[in-house]
Structures are given as structure tokens and as C-alpha cells.
Symmetry: C2
Subunit: 87 residues, 2 copies
Amino acid sequence: MFVILVYDTAAERNPKVLKTCRKYLHWTQRSVFQGELSPAQYRALMSTLTAAIDPAYDSIVTYTTRSPDLVETSVLGVSLGGPGDIL
Amino acid sequence: MFVILVYDTAAERNPKVLKTCRKYLHWTQRSVFQGELSPAQYRALMSTLTAAIDPAYDSIVTYTTRSPDLVETSVLGVSLGGPGDIL
């Protein structure tokens, strides 16, 4: 499955969230990661993030599709994390 | 088409970028918008944003699918912009 993840977490929890996201996904842009995961990897990612965040304050949104082929990516301006290299 | 848009633009250009995104999409989370657009609306959005940003400094990434049905949205923690209300 193809995963796009955007996070909005408190500064003190960012290092753990970033470390977890980097383990599973590629950095795309400020607060955005993306990548292909197996369902088991996706569950592990979500489980680790659930334990890392304060659910009353932080927010993490994931958008998943069955395949990256279903998603078209366009970049205006600077291609920071180089999604063009990934897709 | 279903559009997820993430932006990373300089503070002085944020108001124009935000105003443009709000005109076409729903706010999801810090620096993230989403919504359904016609191809013509999508072209108008991208054209307005292209004129609004500094392409040497700013970055806007869009992910599009043909239908929102192809995308599953999950939220951990706070549902800021309420994507659940939109999808």
C-alpha cells in the first residue's frame, strides 16, 4: 500500500515521531512523509505513532491507496524530499 | 478528482497561498488541504499558486487520485480539520 503521512505534533514529541516516520517512510516536505508499506508495516507504524503522541493534542493523518499507481504527484517550486525519485 | 495539497512556503507568502487553497479545498491540518475538484478547478488552483509562490524557495506538493473512494484516510489523535466530515 502507498502511504502519505502528515503530522502536527508538539515540538517535544517531534523527534520520536520523526524517527518513527523515517524508519518506515521517505521524507517529502516539512511534516510530510510518503512511501510503500506492507499492511503489517503500516500497522506497526501506526501502533508506534499511537504510543508516541498525545492524542489530546497531536494530530497525524494518513492517506493510503492500494498502489502508488493510483496517485499522481505534482510539485510546484522546490522538490524538497524528491517525491519524483520515489514514485 | 480528489486532491491532497501540502505547502511549505515562506511566511510572507502564506496568506496568499492559504487564501487560494481555501477557495478550492478544505483545510485538513497545519499546511494540508484536501478536496474534490474538477480538472478545470485543479488547473486554476495550480495556476494561481504558481503565480503566488517563489519557485526557488517555496514548495507545494499535490497528490491526486481520480476519486476520493481510492483513498482511505486515518487520523491519530486530534482530527483538526475534520477530514472525516469531508470524506
